[in-house]
Amino acid sequence: MFILAEMKNVTRIPPELFNLKLNDAIAGELNKKLANKIVLNVGLCIALYDITSLQESYIFPGDGASHTRVSFRYIVFRPFIEEILIGKIRSCSQEGVHVSLGFFDDILIPPSALQHPSTFNETEQAWVWEYDTGDGNKHDLFMDAGETIRFRVTAEFFNETCPTGTLQETHEKAENKVPYSLTGSINEPGLGLLSWWDT
């Protein structure tokens, strides 16, 4: 579920950080820039892994900061398609089951990828797997928020959310735009709430 991404950047170190070792200052700036951010077509950045090379630093006219070209590797959350992950149910809605990993929330299991047959219970606001016990009876298995769930990653979507215009404008437009989201499925034996398969 985690990968290493190789990246390059020209990092600006402002003069007030000149007391630090160059490596530490750059690591700090890179983490400030990337940690907990989504990079398009790369994934959710977690933390700096290592710096692989540093080139000479330059000072440009009119700016007291130093600029260093740096190559580094970053830990990125990006599960591969078909990977089996375990998360917690955040909520259920008509669109499906929303799953969270704690550090990543944009995972949706659509109704078509739930165990068959499943229905949405409006009063409980939960999806229910109407498990057929084989003797004509049905056993309702509720998918309540907070339960641990095992699912398969079936698709990933990246959305470009460029900052446009003023801060307010961006707020209005980007509100519903999720930069990186995953689609999951649980319509196979063994997938779904862990407690379903415990025995």
Partner: protein
């Protein structure tokens, strides 16, 4: 910023956990986004079986898994969340019915328990209630 290689290597959950613990414990006080994501990711990882893995067991285990003709991602999944049932193996390994015989599946389960003995416990200690 320039992306040289968006996926130069895969990391196991254990490696990420160890790295983040180092980040968290470093003498420098972290703040802002790095602190948030490190905390949240660690909280997730420390609740997975890999919190009790040891590097030696993982290397040994991978060596033992060599004979089963599994690909890298499959082995990674086995290490990240060691299966305790044949059903879980079936999920993680594509077309496992054709690629693995029943004895081989049992063998994998034995290897898992041998190297990661801690995965057995939660099964019994967690009687889940259904309502």
């Amino acid at each position: 910023m320039e992306i040289v290689n968006a996926n130069s290597a895969t990391l196991s959950n254990f490696e990420v956990m160890k790295h983040l613990q180092k980040v968290k414990d470093s003498r420098k006080k972290h703040k802002g986004q790095l602190a948030t994501i490190t905390y949240e990711t660690l909280r997730y990882l420390e609740n997975t079986p890999c919190a009790q893995h040891s590097p030696e067991a993982m290397t040994q285990c991978l060596r033992e898994l060599d004979g089963f003709n599994l690909n890298k991602n499959e082995k990674l999944m086995l290490i990240n969340s060691p299966p305790t049932t044949a059903l879980e193996i079936q999920l993680m390994i594509e077309e496992s019915e054709e690629r693995l015989s029943e004895e081989q599946v049992q063998k994998i389960l034995t290897i898992m328990i041998q190297y990661f003995p801690h995965i057995q416990k939660p099964q019994e200690a967690e009687p889940q209630e259904q309502d």
